[in-house]
């Protein structure tokens, strides 16, 4: 069963410098119990996609089109508009969507954020912040909350849990705060956990601990996870389903095997080449290959393929026409002209 379905999602932000479109027609389905990794460099739209789904976009951010279905229940359905956009209608839809989500966020969908330093309220105690959700959804008493919080903090590996409850975020280290945030998100035993770069701000040792912990908890609670990251190493060790995003679009999607061993998209190839690997046989160090250039300006996204300016295989066709999504197997799809048999045939014919 699919726990989350997102179809044709488009989001945009209105800014003083024009409209920015960080999410451009994103669709994916999340199987219940799987760990989905969304990978891409900064500004590829991965976080904004999940923020859109969670109704957490900033004041100037709107979902312009798309359908979101959670556990078979349609939460959002915005039809593609005309050329112009009715901001007021979108604003109303946004408010309505956020209202609907109020009863789902924190209970059925938990979320962990990137920066443990700024996402905890600095002037409320850990215990207070952890209990809020429990009180709202399960109507637990103070004593019951305390017990559950201690249990949860111990589960995420925080020692001295009882004392921590009465402490404030500034009295905790970064790693501990991230653990608190995870404990908070898992307190209500959500069915889906969205982790937005949960380990980016942490050092490697803590990073490994946190990831291990998430996997362990996934087994224990039986939830699905969406892991947003730019670290392919993390994805390789955790995820069974991977989405590669670039320029607000999904470039390639597949199982971990598809992406790491049979990747077809030049961008995925570039990403894989820019990761440190160690060759067992030759014992030689390999030079890292960066992807030259920088992501497209999302105020004026390219007409053709989003990756065209940085792609070493770019053709004239890529510049002028947006490539369709090619289904390569049951699990594997790729948005690149090179995957189109007609195009490859033509190329070889030359």
């Amino acid at each position: 069963m699919h726990i989350l379905e997102v179809e044709h999602l488009r989001s945009f932000f209105t800014t003083d410098n024009g409209v920015v479109k960080p999410v451009r027609d994103v669709s994916f389905k999340l199987e219940s119990g799987e760990i989905l990794g969304i990978v891409g460099e900064s500004g590829s739209g991965k976080s904004v996609t999940m923020f859109s789904v969670m109704g957490l976009l900033a004041k100037n951010g709107y979902v312009g089109q798309g359908r979101v279905v959670f556990e078979g229940k349609e939460l959002l359905h915005i039809q593609p508009g005309e050329d112009w956009v009715d901001l007021r209608a979108l604003k109303e839809q946004k408010e309505e969507y956020e209202k609907k989500l109020e009863d789902i966020r924190g209970k059925d969908i938990g979320m962990i954020f990137q920066d443990p330093m700024t996402y905890l309220n600095p002037i409320l105690t850990i215990g207070f912040q952890m209990s809020e959700g429990l009180k709202r959804y399960f109507h637990l008493s103070n004593e019951e909350c305390r017990k559950r919080n201690i249990e949860m903090l111990e589960m995420v590996g925080i020692t001295n849990a009882e004392k921590r409850l009465s402490q404030y975020p500034f009295e905790l280290s970064g790693g501990m705060r991230q653990r608190v945030m995870i404990a908070m998100a898992l307190n209500a035993r959500p069915k889906l956990l969205i982790a937005d770069e949960p380990t980016t701000a942490l050092d490697v040792t803590i990073q490994a601990q946190i990831l291990e912990l998430m996997q362990e908890l996934k087994e224990k609670i039986g939830m699905s996870i969406i892991l947003i990251t730019h670290d392919l190493g993390v994805v390789a060790s955790m995820c069974t389903h991977v989405i590669i995003m670039y320029g607000g679009q999904i470039m390639e999607e597949g199982s971990d095997m598809d992406i790491f061993y049979h990747s077809r998209h030049p961008y995925t190839e570039g990403l894989l080449n820019s990761v440190t690997t160690y060759d067992e046989k030759t014992k030689a160090k390999r030079r890292l290959e960066p992807i030259e250039g920088s992501p497209p300006d999302l105020r004026k996204p390219p007409i053709g393929c989003a990756f065209v300016d940085r792609c070493k295989y770019a053709m004239k066709l890529c510049k002028e026409h947006e490539p369709p999504v090619m289904q390569l197997s049951d699990t594997h799809s790729c948005k690149c002209w090179l995957c189109n048999p007609e195009v490859t045939a033509l190329k070889e014919g030359k």
Partner: protein, 306 residues
């Protein structure tokens, strides 16, 4: 913490001593004496007797010494203007009216200022937001005597809804309270709005929403508590300035408060009343300062005093 408060109290006492001395010498440096107005009808001898009675004929350092010793015993002396009344009694008589007025103005301005500020922060560029900006500008730029005159003219003289002066019934409070509150409301609205907008843009608000908290709770607990610090910083001095009373507003509405008393004690060269009052103000400012510092700790646990 206790150590910090004790330190503040000791420092405060030192400040009061300096304040009392400065006030004492300054008022004595002003030409004229407390009995000058009556002196035309008084014989030279009677004048001398009167001065001798209150010790004004003594050299200044002796007077200072006398005043300070009395002060140490908690004695502010006797008023030179209202003979036979002690300064403490005089302040006690006026403080009631001033305090009632101050309390009303404080509650009114905090409630209105916070409400307007929060509402404006939630809907930037809306009609309400523009109204608040206009109100802030007007409130800051209009002096309270102008406001008082306009209010008196419209509501007391033309519409006759409320009495013009005095403080006899609850109706009398409306105009002076509004006149006193307009400026604080303007400041508070602006302050609350900016710090609320700042707080609402913080990451912890996103987390609170992601936790499923209702909008009201997100705004009034998670954001407001964080936004309150600059507001408290403003409200502290506001309380002292309201307690000290506005002699302009008290004079215009003929309210027998201590603000009016201060004004007359200066013109009448009432040495003892004036110094007594300056000390009273000093104590008020210092005590409220300490309270505000303690409130900081209650709001923000990161504030620490050693």
């Amino acid at each position: 913490m206790v150590k910090y408060v004790l330190k503040r109290i000791v420092m405060g006492m030192l400040a009061i001593f300096i304040l009392a001395s400065v006030a004492f010498f300054m008022i004595h440096a002003v030409p004229g004496g407390p009995f000058d107005a009556d002196s035309t009808e008084m014989s030279e001898e009677a004048y001398r007797n009167l001065e001798a009675k209150y010790g004004i004929d003594q050299p200044l350092y002796k007077q200072y010494w006398m005043y300070m010793t009395n002060l140490l015993h908690g004695d502010f002396g006797e008023s030179l203007q209202y003979t036979g009344t002690s300064v403490a009694d005089l302040i006690g008589r006026g403080i009631g009216a001033t305090a009632r007025l101050a309390l009303c103005a404080l509650i009114f301005s905090v409630v209105v200022g916070l409400t307007l500020g929060i509402s404006a922060s939630l809907r930037p560029d809306s009609g309400l937001d523009r109204f608040c900006t206009a109100l802030s500008t007007i409130g800051v730029s209009l002096p309270n005597y102008v406001v008082a005159i306009i209010l008196m003219f419209v509501f007391a003289l033309k519409l006759k809804w409320v009495p013009v002066t005095g403080l006899d019934s609850y109706k009398c409070y409306f105009l002076p309270v509004i006149a006193l509150s307009l400026n604080p409301i303007a400041h508070l609205t602006k302050l609350t709005k900016t710090s609320m907008i700042d707080a609402l843009n913080q990451d912890y608000i996103v987390l609170a929403k992601a936790k499923g908290m209702k909008k009201f709770r997100v705004v009034c607990l998670h954001a407001l508590k964080n936004a309150l610090l600059p507001v408290v910083t403003y409200v502290g001095p506001l309380i002292s300035s309201l307690m000290i009373g506005s002699f302009v507003v008290e004079n215009m509405f003929t309210i027998p408060g201590i603000g009016k008393m201060l004004a007359t004690s200066i013109t009448m060269r009432d040495y003892t009343t004036l110094t007594g009052m300056v000390i009273f103000y000093g104590v008020t400012v210092i005590v409220i300062g300490i309270i505000v510092d303690l409130v900081y700790v209650l709001i923000d646990p990161r504030v620490k005093y050693d």
